[in-house]
Symmetry: C2
Subunit: 183 residues, 2 copies
């Protein structure tokens, strides 16, 4: 059994589906944990998983990084989503030609406490910021993100998201690692 | 002698001028320190000063809280300023009627380690977000903030800022406390 500590039930669902594909059992720990202010998602999750300090637990942090906004909202994506939301991002991107962006997801898994062994897995998906909000599925910035090579937002097509998303990639890397090591 | 730990030389200058008025000596510790992601400035500084763990040291954190943006950029003001900047805030505020905002400054002073005694001082200044950037003085969001009762931004009139600012108030509360306790 492995444990995904997250307050976000959507994220847990996404992870559980992937874990099942690899024959791995996953439970959710819904508790909050402390996050530091840092420039990179890696710094945030490494510090946080050390504080959590429990074996077989992983956490995940993700962000939307928009090129023309110098990486904003980046590591603070969830705060930005709660305050200015998708509408705020679309307003900031009004009349902006370069709409390139990427979603990044970073997983930190605490494999053992002594010696301390933390594994990091990263997933990334490139895309563009849409002109308007579209779709009702997913959460966060899904309604304004169109992955490269497609013409729908993540919120318009949850299967597309489950296939190509940043979190799909990072969690799948973790699941493959666990299958190899523990399967 | 007291110590202000800050990477920001502007903030130190503002504090030093106030301390001198109260006959108190102040030195700068220019080192970075860890900040957590939190909803309030108080949570950020209390946690940070505990980690620093040195007597007679204080830190200060400030943010711009805009009513119509649900408090954005708030505790993440310095990150937002570095990425989307004043231009980004003005774009978000385009055609927005309610331009009310406030600057909040919170100081945490570590008075003693054993028993642990941390004093918190808060300063606040109400105002509005200007229609365009004005002025070259100060730093951060000073060029777009007009304090209530005036018609200039903080960046147009540094003396106005030194007189009514959030940090003026929080640091002055600290200085008055120190004068009383140690003077």
């Amino acid at each position: 059994m492995f444990y995904f500590q997250t307050t976000n039930p959507h994220k847990f669902q996404e992870a559980k589906i992937i874990f099942e594909k690899y024959g791995l059992k996953l439970e959710r720990i819904p508790n909050k944990y402390k996050e530091i202010q840092a420039e990179s998602l890696e710094d945030v999750v490494i510090e946080a998983i050390r504080e959590i300090g429990k074996e077989r637990v992983f956490i995940e942090d993700a962000g939307l990084f928009i090129d023309s906004l110098n990486g904003f909202p980046g590591v603070y994506s969830s705060y930005v989503e709660k305050t200015i939301g998708n509408e705020g991002i679309l307003k900031l991107m009004k009349d902006v030609k370069n709409r390139n962006a990427k979603f990044i997801s970073v997983v930190a898994f605490l494999e053992s406490l002594s010696p301390l062994k933390i594994k990091i897995f990263r997933g990334e998906v490139k895309g563009t910021i849409s002109i308007e909000k579209k779709g009702k599925e997913g959460f966060g910035f899904d309604p304004i993100f169109i992955p490269l090579g497609y013409n729908k937002t993540f919120a318009e097509d949850i299967n597309l998201k489950m296939k190509v998303s940043h979190r799909k990639k990072s969690i799948e890397k973790l699941a493959r690692y666990l299958e190899e090591a523990y399967g």
